[in-house]
Amino acid sequence: MRNEPAGHQLVAPISRRGLLRSTLGGAVGAAVAGRSVSAADAVKPPRKLLLLFLSGGASQLETFDPKPDSKYGGPFRPIATAIPGIQVGELLPHTARILDRLAVIRSVNTGETSHFRGHYLLQSGRKVPGYPVLGSVMAQLLERPGDELPGYVTMRRQNPQAYTDVGDAGFLGPRYEGVMIIDGKPPANIRRPESVDVAAVTTRDRIRRLTNKRFLERRSPRSIQSYTESYQKADALMRRREVFDLEQESAADRARYGDHHFGRNCLLARRLLEAGVHCVKVAHHDWDAHFENFHWQRQRCLEFDRTFVTLMDDFRDRGLLDETLVVIMGEMGRTPRINYYGGRDHWGDAWSMAFAGCGIKPGVVLGKTNELGTEVTDGAVDAGDLFHTILAAMGLDAKGNHQVGGRDNPIGDPASSVIQEVLA
């Protein structure tokens, strides 16, 4: 099924100069804010995080929590899965086949029905603004000396952009902002222009290093180190620009991941995670089906289902799943009630998420909703709990602290806790 519009404009949102500027500012910012969790406190296992963010809000009734006998159940049928007695919507036939490799939570209750606040809440585990999102937290906590690539890369389509870009690093500063890939295009100006001579670049770099060395002999090294670090990162990004080049993947892989944005971004996510990026977020647009939800969800599920299972199989075969946590999330679910346009609207009171990979107990289905799907009746979890759980699955402790301006600031909301039932 074709889903790609002809003539879609490809726009690259970030330039090498922009990256240099942001990482330089970030380095200074981080120095001011402190480096949060000390090296001794921070556990840094070689784990990676892949967020598959169903942006706009997928319908839980058409995916992980079907209600076939409810008047709000919709037209599609439930199907059996690899977990005996558990059904999912028939729009996810491939996912159903591997459901025993996932942990599903059917009792997410965030109460949030705003795209903007939902994006932030689900990624930061907080309602209060200013906290870093998961990708930025990972970029910081998992950072290692010698990291060349950005710790956090986030990918989305060109539109809609408003509610997907929610501030990212917060008080951690721009150093840990996600590098954004839009429409699959690598950061702009990542390639040396033909007109710039290699010898001239080499000479200029030698002069720069000598100048820095002489300058450092008589001054505090911090600002120079920050500059040097940022320069090295930009330089590394240029040298390793091939990680953004999907053409280097086989035609077979590109075909099986799917010739659409989500498929291409998932394949790129694999490249980036294998290359050393700590967290990749792939935003799958757009699930916000206020109008003709059942046509819409079907289109989205057609893309998601096959690509997701391809990714799961591929990650398993490559051994990536042992060290990668895969999270299927969104900013909200959709109303059980169906509006006059055949749409489902925003719903935060009872919806679903799923996890797979490292740190997760597979084959678990946690929580229940009532007959109509309007309320959680068992095992309610909120965004703070999910944040703690994701960190725990990554081998990190959300009860630890960031150090902001010399003061401790809890990494996760202290009022929330880990959802033990889904952890290995």
């Binding site: 099924m1 037209p75 060109q158 647009h285 819409w296 079907r298 169906i338």
Partner: protein
Amino acid sequence: MVVAEPKLDPAATRRLREFPHETPLMSCVVDPTGRWCFAGGRSRRVYVTDLDSGVTRSLEDHESWVVTATRWSSPGLPVRSPAAELAPPPPPQPRDVTQPVAGPSRPVTGSTQESLVITGDLVGRLICWETLGEWPSVRWSIETGHGTLRTAAVSRDGKCVATGGGDGVLRLWSTADGTAIRELTGHTCPVFSTAFHPDGTHLLSGDRGDQKIRQWDYAAGKSVREFDAKDLSNYKGGTDINYGGVRDLAFTPDGAMLFCCGRDSYARPGLVLQFDWETGQQVRKQVSTFTNSIFHHLVFHPQGFYVTSGVGAQTGEIWFWTPEKDEKLASLKVSGPAYGMDLHPDGRHILVAQMGGPRTYGDQGMVGLYEMPLAK
């Protein structure tokens, strides 16, 4: 066969009665005899209403929402009109009782006449009903096996029914027994509308995504040409969904003109496009003033006008047009969003499948029976 003489006055159309149901409705068709109204919507039920008595039976033969319905009969079938007043009800029985249908009913002994209704649902169940018996009964019921069904139409000779849906493939099935005849591939998007040309040779199909109308020589299994209905497109790059689509297709009785309907933009009014059959060119675009609407159905009347039904912001309307003018002939607000519509075989009545209930979220339905009076 739609009959309508003498001259009607569509602008004076009025509501005769409504048949309420517990399901928001999305489709309806009157059987060729004019007695039974089949309606379906957001449930697995088909509501069959006896237009003489108002008695309704709900039949649970489908597996999902019943969103498409069509009919066919052999020539010369007598047609009855709905009575001005409902007949005294038969012995009491609860409304909407689910009752299994007995074995196939057959026409009067010795008759070769046929009267069929075909209904389709969103998981691919297609059912052929016979309507000449005491109550309609199932001739055959098949799982088409390729996902959602959105549209069905019966060929002029009654030998096959064409279906289209989510996978974009047209499929032809025998009306005799439901066996598959052939597939027609070419659409790259879901198919939402089908119609057979009066010449008996060609099938038309409209999609949602490219807004292509494809013309097929269906017996030969060949695509003949395309009509570009891009004015019915409303692609939103951000959502990667086309809000538009070719929602319905219809011909003038002589086949000289093709009509299609839908809308051209989110939050814009519904509209109709006209194509010249011979040249394939779009010759007129008729835009309604029905705000935030989409026209889901269109039927052409033998007296030279046509009717569209649509859904607006929690409202429904039916519009009357003539092909020669950009402006409407008349419009009528109905009780709720009007997803389904059919012209009664007598040519004087219109049935509209609607939704009703609380603001924003419909949880009930009704079939409205409307009458076009004679012109003064």
